[in-house]
Amino acid sequence: MGLDRRGFVKLVVGGVAGTLFTPVIWQGLDDASIWSQNWGWIPRVPKGEVKAASALSKLCPAGCAVKVKTVGGQPFAVTGNTENPMSKGGVCPVCAGGAQLMYSPARVKSPMKKVGEGKYEAIKWEDAEAMLVEKLTPLKGQDGKIAAISGDETGTANEVLSAMLAGLGSTGYYVMPGEMFTASKGVKLMGGNGQPGFDIEGADLVLMIGADALDSWGATVANQKAFAATRPTGAEATAQFVYAGPVLNSTASVCDKFLAVPPTATTAFSLALANALITAGAVSSASDFGDYKALAAKYTAEVFEKATGLKAEVLKDLAAKIKAAKAPLVIAGASFGQGAGALDFVAGASLNVLLGRVGQKGGMTLLPAAPKAIASATDRENAKDAASFLASVATGKATPGALLIYEANPAYALPQAGDMAKAMGNIGFKVSFSTYMDETAALADLILPAPHPYERFDDAMNPYGVSKPTYLAGKPVVAKPVMDCKDPVDVLLAAAGKLGLSLGFDTYADVIKAKAKAVGADFDALANGGIWNGEPKGGSLSLGAAALAKAPAAKADDKAVALAPVSKLAYGTGSLATPPANLLVVRDTELLGKDLLVQMNAATAKKLGVASGNKVKLSAGTGEVKALVHVNEGVAADTVAMLLGFGRSAWDEFTKGKGDNVYKILTVSDEAGTGLKVWAGSTVTVAKI
């Protein structure tokens, strides 16, 4: 008798009923849910011993002394080093995500050779180094044929680089523009020499003219710590902070007072303040006080109001505050850390002289030139700027055959970036020593990957802004780099050797140890998170009246508005695109999808006939930038503010093509009397599209 439909149904029903009395369904459900709790494609977290190693995290310009946390030897997080007197346990937003940057998709994974427009092929290190030597050999001994651009302000690598060039008979060693460069020039104009420092810790009133000291200017974390020390939570503040600049930026947001000064009026502001102080009875023993007084007198309340768009009372109040202060300090600098020219600096610094604050506690100091590890290296203050160099390459005045680029991104981070990138096209052989595939590396003929800071030895001498000589050094955290890279300095030293030039060292580590010795510091102590501090030197400064006399009066241009580039450390720097761990920090009022936003106050927007959300084109020189308007009352009159660091054309999926590069519309002009290139206070024309 066959099993008919009914019988079959019964069988099935029985089966189902039976199953209910077994673990199948229940455990199946349970295991399924457990499965959903540990999906195979969800990354597992590492296990192992958690340790912390001291490191010098030179991801931000000043470098943070940090502790890198590792699990099973693998870096995963960064915390402050509380023992280090410079960062006092603080970490900047970039270094906070340093461990993740080791695995940035933008990292150069191995040496690469250009094989066509935007095409590269990975090559072996021996071949790469051989290629380097081979290309340099014929240029050896011809001045100007080999050039080098360094984007590292503080490392001793610069000594190796400049000494190597000198040894190869070239003087073509250039640095990327920065405050350190212009400030040192400014000091010269004031009859002194050395790198200026600012003792924020000791001051009871800090006036920052332009300088975004609490976010992107100088040794940020040290500045922030000094600021914080004067503001114990829940108690009275022990110092006042005033910010005079084009944008209500991070620094201004926590200052007691913000004065919206257009970037074109910085000098005028300083001198008008000088005038107000002098009228209030300030005198200086400086030799050129007479001329200075006469000069300042030209900057009357009216001139001030016209130049800055602020009320004259504001200036009076400020002068009164300063007068009342025991230890006032003035810090002058470009609001975005470069291009300000020396006069803006001199005008600001002269106030310190006028107030007799030079060399005082809580005043402005001068740092002596640090002893060198390599005698033949170029002195820091004699460095030449890369912007002028590439400008002359563009015009054919300079014709280098080879360009070595160390930790710098000139193709992106120089004014009129577009032209600069073009200019590089005139150079036959370009080598980029870079950790990441940046815009410059993308143009290079040979890319030699550099290790991430946690994979290498490095040091930092006198980061700009520190009030006394300061030296930091660090050693690798991990045994070997995660990519196939070599320390650029080691590579250079080897190449030099092959070119028959001995600099007396084989590795960067040795160079740094020698440097430490020369300085009188203990390398091991430094490598373990320590610091070396010296004493600032004395020496008086003039008021720089002679130089200031040449300062052009701020001219009001009705068609164009002033451009105030804004630099936020968290969003990266010229040589570092926004790190993956910092993407969240960028506001949607700054970058929206692929559009950068241009900030301006309602009055300016009205004047320009634009409104929030409008798409506009900003143009200056040969460059233009597109952006969306965002009305922001924190921007000075007749000024538009835009963030630097976006509009990348290389890097990774997180940054490439996001926003636009504001460097493209910074226009360079020659500064009267100083021969410097300046681009702070560039103006742009804004057109709705």
Partner: protein, 409 residues
């Protein structure tokens, strides 16, 4: 060809025509099914929901259909417990509508949660303090009750009913229907309320938060009332829609008017308390948390007009229309009132779901706006299509309308 399956003595359209109609509906259903698969595969990132709008069209849809499906339990309650016998003419329809609404809502919920595989956690790890737990339990239990109420109807299908066992089963189930109706009424009252409670307890959402009685915020009771205030009339609308579609008379107008009267009465009670509640909320509660009535609204998309439409145009007006015999007895006006009523309740659910979370409670935060995207529309549409399919089949093959035969002589 399928004539043998029709209920006794009634006419149905040709099979070809029917097939065509089913195909048409199925198209929508399949599109929704596609969307559902995409959602299960990629997660709800494919929807228009976001950090500010964790709830959106789906939850609104659920709450709305559950409210509209309330005709089932309430009519059942009146018919079996209060013995209003006339309702037998429409009770079957209310059951089917209820079944469709609830089963549909449950399907939407499984899509709505981020981890459908863990859906059963709601029963295994229940949090007794959560109104949502109450909802989960009541809805599933009540859905079972509706199945039990629906089954005998299926068993009464001409052919099935020939099988003695099924015949008797159906009969016995009918006998005990009062019991199920009772359970149903109890369960529904609770989850209808809990749905309101869900919002009423949101202490962080001034638009929705309400004080209340014992553990139940006032919204608990308001939701129950509003549900019974629209459920019955929704059934009437469905019925009338079917009559227009099939060109046959299915339920006599007297019954419809009665349903209208029932809904109207409940709606009137509801709207009275709703107005009181809103007034107290605006004048006592909001000031107590430092907010103003105006702060609750924004532009056109979340403007005051919504609240006025909900309470006055689609609340007060239909209530008056439904309790006024002269208006109620005019078909056109009855249906108009019914439509307004249903819109009002749906709008109420939308406002509590979406507007409540659109308001920036943090003073330095901004309003955000929400628009459902294709995936949400398609899946919601799938449920509607599913409803049409079930209803079409039931109408064609099951004896849903006891009066049909007589009325179409």
């Amino acid at each position: 060809m399928d004539r043998a399956l029709f209920p006794d003595g009634v006419e149905r359209c040709s099979f070809g025509k029917f097939a065509l109609w089913m195909a048409f509906i199925t198209a929508f259903f399949l599109f929704g099914l596609y969307a559902m698969i995409v959602i299960f595969a990629k997660g709800i990132v494919v929807t228009g929901l976001d950090n500010y709008f964790g709830f959106g069209l789906w939850i609104t849809f659920d709450l709305a259909v559950i409210a509209l499906g309330a005709g089932a339990f309430f009519t059942g309650f009146l018919k079996y417990i209060l013995k209003i016998d006339q309702l037998k003419n429409i009770i079957n329809l209310t059951v089917i509508v209820g079944f469709i609404c609830y089963s549909g809502a449950m399907l939407v919920l499984t899509m709505d949660i981020g981890q459908p595989i863990r859906a059963w956690f709601g029963y295994w790890h229940p949090n007794v303090h959560s109104m949502l737990t109450e909802v989960i339990f009541c809805i599933t239990c009540y859905c079972l009750v509706l199945v039990i109420e629906y089954v005998p109807l299926i068993l009464e299908q001409k052919q099935l009913n020939k099988i003695p066992f099924l015949h008797h089963l159906a009969h016995n189930m009918h006998v005990n229907m009062a019991l199920f109706a009772g359970i149903g009424a109890f369960l529904s009252t609770f989850h209808q309320g809990s749905l309101g409670g869900m919002y009423g307890v949101l202490i962080g959402r001034p638009y929705a938060f309400r004080d209340g009685f014992f553990i139940w915020p006032w919204t608990f009771f308001l939701f129950v009332l509003s549900a019974v205030g629209c459920g019955p009339i929704f059934t009437v609308l469905v019925c009338t829609f079917m009559e227009k579609l099939t060109g046959r008379k299915l339920v006599d107008y007297k019954t419809k008017a009665l349903m209208g009267k029932i809904a109207g009465t409940m709606l009137t009670v509801y709207i009275f308390f709703k107005i009181l509640d809103t007034w107290a909320w605006a004048n006592n509660y909001l000031p107590s948390v430092g907010m103003t009535f105006d702060q609750m609204f924004y532009g056109v998309i979340y403007g005051k007009w919504l609240m006025f439409t909900e309470i006055i145009l689609c609340g007060l007006v239909p209530a008056i229309m439904l309790i006024t015999p002269s208006i109620r007895n005019n078909p056109t006006l009855l249906y108009t009132a019914g439509i307004l009523d249903c819109i009002g309740i749906t709008l109420n659910r939308y406002l509590f779901t979406v507007q409540a979370i659109a308001i920036p409670v943090l003073p330095f935060d901004n309003w955000q706006t929400y628009a459902p995207n294709w995936a949400e529309w398609a899946t919601s549409g799938m449920i509607v299509a599913y409803g049409f399919l079930v209803m079409s089949l039931s109408y064609r093959y099951l004896p849903v309308f006891p009066q049909e035969r007589a009325m179409n002589k």
